[in-house]
């Protein structure tokens, strides 16, 4: 899809202002200092990101949003790429997923209640989908109709930034029956317990959320009955694509500093990158990176244009990039040798991030099986 010269300039402005801001306010030294922080990011950082438009791109103008190019997913992917390069903390991608869901499926009242706050970063949203059993389907929580609303019971796992979120988008089943439904649940709702998890990726926060007859009013239900299946599918596509935009940034940066290391590190009287054993490994990783970038572009395009084939495209790309990310991470560690195994070196932060991203919103095997199902094999 061709963008006009004006849009391209506006996108570049968004990208470069984001990159400059990250460089100045949240370099890796700052990311490190936040590793043990309870929240995982600073509120003023999130506010400034919101001012740059990070949380408003998928939201309509009347609710304080707007894209810079008319192709909001491309715009947002540029921001997320820069964030991924520097392992940025905070619920930017996932809050956008929730804002997008409310924009596309929410009632006028829900849009009024949530969108301007989400777009401005005053409110943080996250999505509770899986029960943690490996299936990224709406399992684990069942909703029962009660007087004036619904009571939610069960547990969700691997919920991004739940500890700091204001509103949970909960994908559940209805009980009795197996119909799907979604609810916008304030994290202050009684009966809701958020349990922070220990994480492999030290730069992301994940939580388990337990629901014990947590009651929400009828108006908290997102969309009408028939919408839930399509909405959850669309949310998955959006979540996978936004996550991938960050993943590809992390892969890009990790590979960049690894190539530099291969040029700088001297052994046997010459840079190690001159040895074919190292050079060829880097060439293979470079191919994986280029192919991953090509795939992510296709995913962004499919989600932007709501292609009928988007379900399959995002799964094809997630499967490929997740496998490639792990291979790239291990290869980059190998090129660094022992130094990459130290706490002080930034290597492990990227190494951890890529493994986390590979699993979130579906590991490669899950997406491959999903593709079989899409083809009715």
């Amino acid at each position: 899809m061709a963008v006009t010269a004006d849009s391209a300039r506006d996108q570049e402005l968004l990208r470069s202002s984001t990159a400059r801001f990250l460089e100045a306010s949240c370099p890796l030294s700052e990311v490190r200092s936040l590793l043990d922080d309870r929240h995982g990011f600073r509120p003023e950082y999130f506010q400034k990101g919101a001012e740059l438009g990070w949380l408003a791109l998928l939201v309509p103008e009347k609710h304080g949003g707007g894209s810079v190019s008319g192709r909001p997913f491309e715009d947002l992917a540029l921001v997320l790429h820069e964030r991924g390069r520097m392992l940025q903390p905070g619920p930017v991608a996932i809050s956008n997923v929730v804002a997008c869901a409310i924009t596309e499926y929410g009632s006028p009242e829900q849009q009024e209640a949530h969108l301007s706050a989400l777009a401005a970063g005053r409110s943080i949203g996250t999505w509770a989908l899986t029960d943690g059993g490996g299936d990224w389907a709406p399992r684990g929580v069942a909703a029962t109709a009660v007087d004036g609303g619904y009571a939610l019971t069960g547990a969700k796992d691997l919920v991004l930034d739940a500890h700091i979120a204001d509103v949970l988008l909960v994908s559940s089943t209805m009980s009795p029956g197996d119909q799907l439904a979604q609810f916008l649940v304030p994290t202050t709702t009684p009966g809701l317990t958020i349990i922070p998890l220990e994480t492999l990726d030290l730069t992301r926060r994940l939580a388990r959320v337990e629901f014990s007859e947590a009651v929400v009013p009828s108006v908290a239900r997102l969309g009408v009955d028939s919408d839930a299946v399509a909405a959850i599918e669309r949310q998955l596509q959006v979540a996978v694509t936004l996550l991938l935009a960050e993943t590809i940034g992390s892969m890009d940066r990790m590979f960049e500093f690894t190539v530099q290391y291969a040029k700088d590190r001297v052994a046997f009287g010459r840079p190690i990158g001159s040895f074919q054993a190292v050079k060829h490994l880097l060439a293979d990783l470079s191919l994986l990176l280029e192919a991953s970038k090509a795939g992510v572009s296709a995913a962004i395009g499919a989600v932007q244009d709501t292609d009928t084939g988007a379900s399959e495209v995002i799964s094809l790309v997630k499967a490929f990039v997740s496998d490639s990310a792990i291979e790239l991470a291990q290869g980059c560690l190998q090129v660094h040798g022992g130094i990459g195994y130290t706490w002080e070196h930034d290597m492990h932060l990227y190494y951890r991030r890529l493994a986390g991203d590979s699993a979130l919103f579906g590991d490669p095997a899950w997406h491959r099986e999903r593709i079989c199902a899409l083809h009715r094999l």
Binding site: V259, A262, K263, R270, P271, G273, S274, F275, Q276, V278, K279, H280, L282, A283, D284, S286, L287, E290, A291, K293, A294, G295, S297, A298, D307, G309, E312, V313, L316, V317, A319, F320, A365, R368, E369, I371, C372, H375, L377
Partner: protein
């Protein structure tokens, strides 16, 4: 940028001409089985279609008018490719790519005006098909080490030596031949390209029987073959620059056509699904994963193709084609392993006429063609490492030394 109206009317013209003059493709193009060379009748039919296209002005769409092309934009070519997708275009395989995607573009970039006047129109008309006389028994990955000699004698050159791995040379009208014109210079500096008619006296062309039984490749022996100086391509001793251009075209040949890049995922690989069905394994988790691995690889290669085509159009870096070549080299081997695995015993022994099983066996035999032919995986990795990533070169034992001394010291002369 062409006005849109012009492009639209061009598309209309193409569409109506195609509908009147070409046959629709009867079935989706299938992968040709390696080694089965087209018959003379087949080639003549293809030449007739090529001539029709040439006469109507639909060949060499972006090539200069003075050499028989149309002098139009890449946008016009893309429109033609899109419109022609459902029609039976000429298929000179294996000489299709060597003639139109490798040799001719290289000549356009480097040959003299007189040379191009003499040869390019005949190529566009389908009268001259070209093979590459490039590799030698002792010059494969180390291509600059060719030893076929060309010695000047007045207004012609005398070639002696041998070439190998020339696809389809038995069917070609010309070979584009790299020869050493000065052995006192370092390896890369004493090389020159020539156009050699395949019927030239002293030139012997023999097919090479491949491990799969086919005979697509040939070897050539040059026994004082005379080539006129007007059939020289590029400057004397400047052949390596030409070779570099050619290698770039060779890596991307056929992989950057509009019909082969980007696009939706399409069906699961039908051959693998069929193999799984036959063995009752379509519900087997591992089998399903393997089928989709291949599907993912095919989709991602097409997306990579689109990305590389865009990048080459933007910054003209032909070195990027190494990514496509390496991707194909690696993926073909992986696909062959998975095919063999899903076929099980049926790829080892099958009833006569069982083409599915036989195809699985052939896929295994040909698993490494794409990772060796046209530049090995290792050479692509060197190119990516050195030219794209900027990693330092390995020290080499022959750099800067006269080539005659190099082969003398190695005891090879």
């Amino acid at each position: 940028m062409e006005p849109t109206a012009d492009l639209d009317s061009y598309r209309e013209r193409v569409r109506s001409w195609l509908a009147k003059n070409l046959e629709p493709t009867r079935q989706p193009r299938v992968h040709r089985v390696r080694g089965e060379l087209p018959s003379a009748e087949h080639l003549n039919r293809q030449r007739a279609i090529q001539r029709k296209l040439f006469d109507a002005g639909y060949t060499g769409i972006t090539w200069p008018r003075e050499y028989g092309g149309q002098g139009l934009t890449a946008e016009h070519r893309r429109i033609f490719e899109e419109e022609a997708a459902g029609y039976a275009l000429p298929d000179f395989a294996p000489l299709q790519n060597t003639t139109y995607a490798v040799c001719a573009p290289t000549m356009l970039a480097h040959a003299s005006h007189e040379f191009k006047i003499r040869h390019i129109p005949a190529i566009l008309a389908g009268d001259a098909l070209w093979a590459q006389f490039f590799s030698e028994p002792n010059a494969g990955s180390d291509l600059a080490a060719v030893r076929t000699r060309a010695v000047r004698d007045g207004d012609h050159w005398v070639l002696t030596g041998s070439k190998v791995w020339s696809s389809g040379a038995m069917l070609a009208d010309y070979g584009m031949c790299l020869a050493r014109t000065d052995g006192s210079l370092p390896k890369h500096q004493g090389l020159t390209w020539f156009a050699v008619p395949t019927h030239a006296p002293g030139l012997t062309i023999r097919p090479i029987r491949e491990s799969g039984g086919g005979e697509e490749f040939c070897e050539e022996f040059f026994d004082d073959v005379i080539v006129e100086d007007i059939d020289r391509i590029g400057e004397v001793n400047a052949g390596w620059t030409v070779a570099t251009t050619m290698l770039g075209f060779e890596r991307s040949a056929g992989k950057t056509q509009a019909s082969r890049v980007g696009g939706p995922p399409g069906d699961l690989p039908a051959d693998l699904v069929e193999l799984a069905r036959r063995r009752g394994l379509t519900d087997d988790g591992h089998t399903r994963q393997q089928i989709v691995r291949v599907h993912v690889g095919e989709f991602i290669q097409r997306q990579l193709g689109a990305r590389i085509v865009d990048a080459m159009a933007t910054n003209g870096a032909a070195g990027l084609a190494s990514y496509l070549k390496l991707a194909e080299g690696l993926f073909t081997a992986t696909r062959a392993r998975i095919t063999l695995e899903l076929a099980g015993g049926s790829a080892v022994a099958w009833r006569a006429g069982d083409s599915v099983s036989r195809a699985a066996a052939m896929t295994y035999l040909n698993a490494r063609v794409r990772s060796i032919a046209g530049g090995t995986n290792e050479m692509q990795r060197n190119a990516i490492g050195e030219r794209i990533l900027g990693l330092p070169r390995e020290p080499s034992a022959d750099r800067g030394k006269p080539f005659d001394d190099v082969i003398g010291q190695a005891g090879l002369s």
